[in-house]
Symmetry: C2
Subunit: 309 residues, 2 copies
DNA sequence: AATCTGTTTTTAATGTAAAAAAAACGGAGC
DNA sequence: GCTCCGTTTTTTTTACATTAAAAACAGATT
């Protein structure tokens, strides 16, 4: 009735840790591991029990010891390490990504539950979050309306993003040079230069760096609404990034250079310069999203999913 | 298993309509009434059935006819006309209002379900919306954290509100004089003047007028995020308004005058003037909220509700 | 005293079932 | 053709049950 995703995720994490240990090494205590995995000791205990069952660990005098290194087959599939709720959110975004829904389409919970292999309760509870992302509208005693990733959506989200990011830079430049966010900015800048030097191989790692830069700026706003909104943006980009892979290396290089300019402006602490560079970068990013939308999702060859219209 | 709040609400609405009719008047058709009450014909049918049961209506040749006027006792209590979900949201806000929760307190679903007289499913689904309002934080596999209506909260919400409202005025002044929002503004202004003339008796109706003015402005932004955020503000104010009733008439009069200045600035279409008046008004409103928070909720004489800490 | 682990108690996650409401169907009357 | 209304089918809402995970408790060992 309740998935055991927490257990499976912890089990996998534990296997990864053991993979790096020597045979015979002794394992950490239950509470220690619970803390490092950020789960309860109850979960750690079931993980240990399973590890012993699988013959990976024995309990000898003086504690548990590693018997053999885990193989590929010992891990749980990644898909099972998501809670039912998280899985629903992911699959919903992936359906959008693949163009399985059309803007204006009505979605019904029972059908989605069947398609996603969960219960309507889970669907209802977790689809609600996409109301705040602006992708769904719920009408009482009726179905959900999918509003679509449309050009209007891009405009609205970017208008707010620009307001929020410009505002955040203001609090950012108020902070002293040795505050954690500025330290983080130093690191981020260094990673930008490293990535630029290796752009041919590593250009695909850009999105993570992008996320880190913008997040560190937004977080200095100390405003829960601004930070929550960045979470929305971040989720959205995580998924839409894959829509348009043309010129990926080229686009990432441009963005990297814009980031460096933007960082330079931040260091100057000159609001005018910051606004200019920030706006310029966001304009580029907005255009990229707009083109992705135009380009559209990878329409799957199969017909649109069996969801009533 | 499912409350019949829709039915009860419709039944009451129908009674109100009948109260104004003459005995013997014929009722509208099922589909007609369904449309005007914005419910399904299925619900209308059960309403009609109950009306006949209650002896308020008979079915004669040529349609249903009113037999007697409904009395007070015929109506369902207002409280029962809210869906379980809406009731949870309302009671939650009222508990906050009464100071039953302290900032930083952990809330647990089972306990709240008992207190509110519903199931945990309903609690979980509807408490989620207060995450978006910034009042709750949910930690996976654990309880909810009530973050409190604190001075920080007021600052954060007003910072965003100001950005959004200033931005919205820009789209507002782009619209032609005869567009619906400007027409609505004319009406709102007239009502302001009417209320000012009658301030001694009617000062309590100010919040509705406030809501209408700010909403018509926000809505011209055509931005779902801005409009959603105004919904949050609006909900919050609806409840916090009652925290501090001192100087109510005085404060409302000041706000009315500020509104009129603000409207005048909008008519001038001069961005500088608009910003000044808008900022001034929002500063006043912000200070009012800040004072309400300081003043605090009406601490109920009973101990804080039985929710685990 | 502090940490470790075995056991018990609570609580959150989530599937299932039943009632309410919506939607669809279909015939009758105009 | 169109509206009206009785019936049937779907779908949403919500309570409840069950399992996973967390938290609390308690004895043991260092």
């Amino acid at each position: 009735m309740k998935g055991n995703a927490v257990f499976k995720r912890s089990y996998n994490q534990c296997l990864r840790q053991l993979a790096g240990q020597a045979i015979g090494a002794s394992l950490p205590s239950e509470s220690e591991l619970a803390q490092s995995l950020e789960v309860s000791r109850t979960t750690v205990r079931s993980v240990f029990a399973s590890l012993i069952d699988a013959g990976i660990v024995t309990v000898a005098a003086g504690g548990r010891r590693l018997v053999r290194h885990p193989g590929e087959a010992d891990y749980f599939p990644d898909l099972q390490t998501l809670s039912a709720g998280a899985a629903v959110a992911r699959r919903f975004m992936e359906w959008i990504l693949q163009g399985d829904f059309r803007a204006g389409q009505l979605l019904n919970a029972a059908e989605l539950a069947r398609q996603f292999g969960t219960s309507t309760t889970t669907i209802r509870e977790h689809l609600a979050q996409f109301q705040h992302v602006g992708l769904l509208e719920r009408r009482p005693n009726s179905s959900w309306l999918y509003k679509g990733v449309t050009p209007a959506f891009a405009t609205e989200i970017y208008d707010v993003r620009e307001m929020f990011e410009l505002r955040s830079t203001r609090s950012f430049i108020e902070l002293p040079d040795d505050s954690p966010p500025w330290r983080e900015l130093d690191v981020i800048e260094a990673e930008h230069r490293a990535l630029l030097a290796n752009i041919d191989e590593d250009y695909r790692t850009f999105p993570q760096l992008d996320e880190r830069l913008h997040r560190v700026i937004h977080e200095t706003s100390n405003n829960r609404f601004i930070i929550d909104f960045y979470d929305v943006i971040s989720t959205l980009f995580h998924y839409t990034y894959r829509w348009n892979r043309s010129d990926e290396k080229q686009r990432n290089t441009v963005a990297l250079l814009e980031h460096l300019d933007y960082i330079e402006a931040l260091r100057s602490r000159d609001p005018r310069a910051i606004d200019a560079r920030c706006r310029k970068h966001l304009r580029t990013a907005r255009a990229t999203l707009a083109r992705s939308i135009e380009f559209g999702p990878f329409r799957s060859p199969s017909s649109p999913a069996g969801v009533s219209a």
